[in-house]
Amino acid sequence: MILRISLLVLLNGNNGMVKIFVVDNGGQWTHREWRTLRDLDVETSIVPNTTKLQDLLDAKIDGLVLSGGAPRIGRDGTLGNCAEYLEKATFPILGICAGHQFMGRFFGGDVKPSKIPEFGKVQLILLCSDDPLFEKVPKKSIVWESHNDEVTKLPKNFLLLAGSENCKIQAIHHKKKPFYGLQFHPEVEHTEYGEQIFKNFVQLCEQ
């Protein structure tokens, strides 16, 4: 799969400006994250979550997306080498769904099975109006979800950026590092401002 994808990167003639890799945690929408980045003219590739941090550094990436996946972060602690990236990386990281939950747990928050899991259409409410990840995203918008677990206690040193009726912690931002976690899925077509959120993340990686 990786070989074929790198061929497509060549086919699509990326100019090498921004390089963001997608770490595959086994999500249904990992490839959609890759596609959204590619459509934004980002040089991108899907890599397994067993990839060593050094290999990512050698590839000179500007940012990383941690995909969602079937692993139940609320029950099980591991997600390949994601812990190493979160511990040592200085580049921006965007954790999505399971990637977000893992980030929450890694920095000391709690992750538990959701009392009311969300599948499909949900209204997202922004709690913080000036975060660069949500630039040009209105206070209320439609996002799509698909999760059984959620972050139930905000990790230390994190800001809460958004919530929904049944899941209070939908978006988080590390106070000192360019790390973001999103419970919802900005990569799917049905999330109203998903592409805008990705554009904002790409801009953060460009800086």
Partner: protein, 315 residues
Amino acid sequence: MFNADTFIEQTTKKLASDIRGKALIAFSGGVDSTVCAALVHKAIGNRLIAVHVDTGYMRKNESNHVKKMMEDLRLNFLFIDASNEYYSALKGIEDPEKKRKIIGEKFIRVFEKTAIEEHIDYLVQGTIAPDWIESGGELRDTIKSHHNVGGLPKDMKLKLVEPLHDLYKDEVRKIARALKLNVSERQPFPGPGLAIRIIGEATPERTMIVREACNIVETEIECAVQKGLMELPWQYFAVLLPVKTVGVHGDQRVYGYTIAIRAVQSVDAMTCNYSYIPHEVLDVISTKITNTLKEKVNRVVYDITNKPPGTVEWE
């Protein structure tokens, strides 16, 4: 951004250098396999043989339609009617994953037979991203085994060629438009066909019922779209539920199956919302289905589930 012309140019070049000798394409007549056939045909010409298998679970008039398409594309083609074989292989099978796997394996066995007779080494498939994503493997959960991925037998000897492996349907449609193929806007139809639109055992009798119901749903929705009553859904069809309910026909009790209407809007099949079909259109569909299928079907329901949590097809 995805560029169809660049993709066509680069892929044709690659296929021409990768495929030595003859190749067989699994040709269903849908957008993916037709685009794939056109690309490979561009690359290797008549060394490509298109094989269409009539599984017995095809839509109404599908065979004629597919034959015409293969002729229009000037493909070397074989049309194989294996419907009886499929019906007997699926006899008594109710589990959706088992159905999909049996169908997937049968396809390959038919192709292998042809490959031996025609001295072919390569199998070309119109597999696209959602097919292998949903089929799962390693870290990824299996949502459903697509016949062309999760249904492939492990001992397959043919070499697989899948030029559309990393594309989604909207991108394949762009290529189809660039190649001026009529099929470009055709709605998706799953490889296992009507067998997965029958919940439970896919008997020939139930197939006949769901085929007719699908035809009514398609015809009436297309008619409503033409009249400007609604937007054309991404996919629209009928599902037969083996749930019998009581009805009354001409003062007599009837006890028949239920048909569910399914219509969704999507771009890439990875997320979908159910279509807003006006009540007047649902009304016409309901009356036509029950009046045409008489004692077989006496109840029609409309599926209002998005994906997620549902999937487009029920199995």
